[in-house]
Subunit: 205 residues, 2 copies
DNA sequence: ACCTGAACACCGTTCAAGT
DNA sequence: ACCTGAACACCGTTCAAGT
């Protein structure tokens, strides 16, 4: 490309993504309270009103960030489950470990995702992305039911039990409510194993 | 009392509590984002710097609010459990229903309580209050183990399983992540029953 | 279309002062 | 001791303008 023309400034066409990236970094570094639209704009190298061309409000930017978080969480769960072909129990445990581990690695994003009722702008899409996590768990459950490993119930109910305890564990851990070393991957695995073990025991036929 | 003297203004000696009350009302009405120290002061009828005589920062005020929330949650759980003398299973279900119902009635406070890692000022006490909820559940578990209803495990582990799923359910419901009518008390009860049933089935010997 | 700069109505926090 | 008022450095959002 020539040194002139449309690519002159560096925030050529993709300010939308540059803003998301900057906001994500800020969130990770400073927490939810540290994210200001003005600082995000500053980091992206634009004026503090420029973001309004891409997001209708600060809430909309945060909602987009949450939506991206949901997709990543879902991907982490599914990838972990697919990597384990040893039947639904092991898949469920793998998914649980992935869930909690993802939460521990990205506490601020998780907090953002589940922190506000989806009532602000754009939160509709974020809410849908969140429910898709539930759908992902449901697919594991259905496989478990069909193979006869899990009890014959609505897959939704079993998925709810699984989601509920994994989510609760993730939230309590990231909130610092449980006496455990968050930096130790083994500790996470042990904890998930204990909880998942009970869930599976209750679910199995 | 005479119409003069120390009670002249109405915010006599208990500004501390007046601030907490105002902040609580504001939180309930507007959510976490709606709570500003200046508005709290305004409602309490004092200047916007007066709160600093009672709380070192906005974060400290919120931490105090969270601490009060933890105590109320614990009280709700214990009261519900004690009201049911039909053995530990029923007590656990009653506690779970109380937990989720309390969360649904006070979504903003719950969000505040579990929303931020206790790292800000005063959050030490709030964190301790939170862990006391866990202790409350533990006491129910111990009774269950001693009576032979629950499996012989560390009460802490069983309490963790119970807390984890109840908390996860409460958080998902208040986040609007589950397709249910939050205003319907029966729906809450049904949902808790389904989850608690599985937990108990897994826990029982 | 996309971005800017000034402007408005807010914040949290500090500090010198008042009683 | 307890409270006030001015001041500082920030916000989110709007709007008229610039290219």
């Amino acid at each position: 490309m020539a040194s002139d023309g449309t690519t002159n400034q560096y925030h050529h066409g993709d300010l939308h993504n540059a803003l998301l990236t900057a906001a994500g970094a800020l969130l990770r570094e400073q927490g939810t309270g540290g994210v200001s639209l003005r600082e995000v704009a500053r980091r992206a190298g634009v004026s503090h009103t420029a973001p309004y061309r891409h997001f209708s409000s600060k809430a909309a930017l945060l909602a987009a960030l949450a939506q991206r978080g949901f997709r990543q969480l879902e991907a982490a769960i599914m990838t972990a489950a697919e990597r384990v072909p040893h039947g639904p129990e092991q898949q469920l445990i793998a998914a649980g470990i992935a869930y909690v581990r993802h939460a521990v690695s990205n506490p601020e994003v998780i907090r953002l995702m589940f922190g506000e009722t989806p009532e602000a702008t754009g939160a509709v899409e974020a809410g849908a992305a969140g429910r898709q996590v539930f759908t992902a768990l449901q697919s594991i459950m259905e496989a478990g039911i069909q193979s006869g490993v899990f009890r014959q119930r609505e897959a939704g109910e079993l998925a709810l039990v699984a989601w509920t305890s994994m989510h609760g564990l993730a939230m309590l851990v990231t909130a610092g409510m449980l006496p455990m070393d968050t930096t130790d991957p083994d500790a996470v695995e042990t904890l998930v194993g204990a909880v998942a073990g009970n869930v599976i025991y209750g679910i199995s036929r």
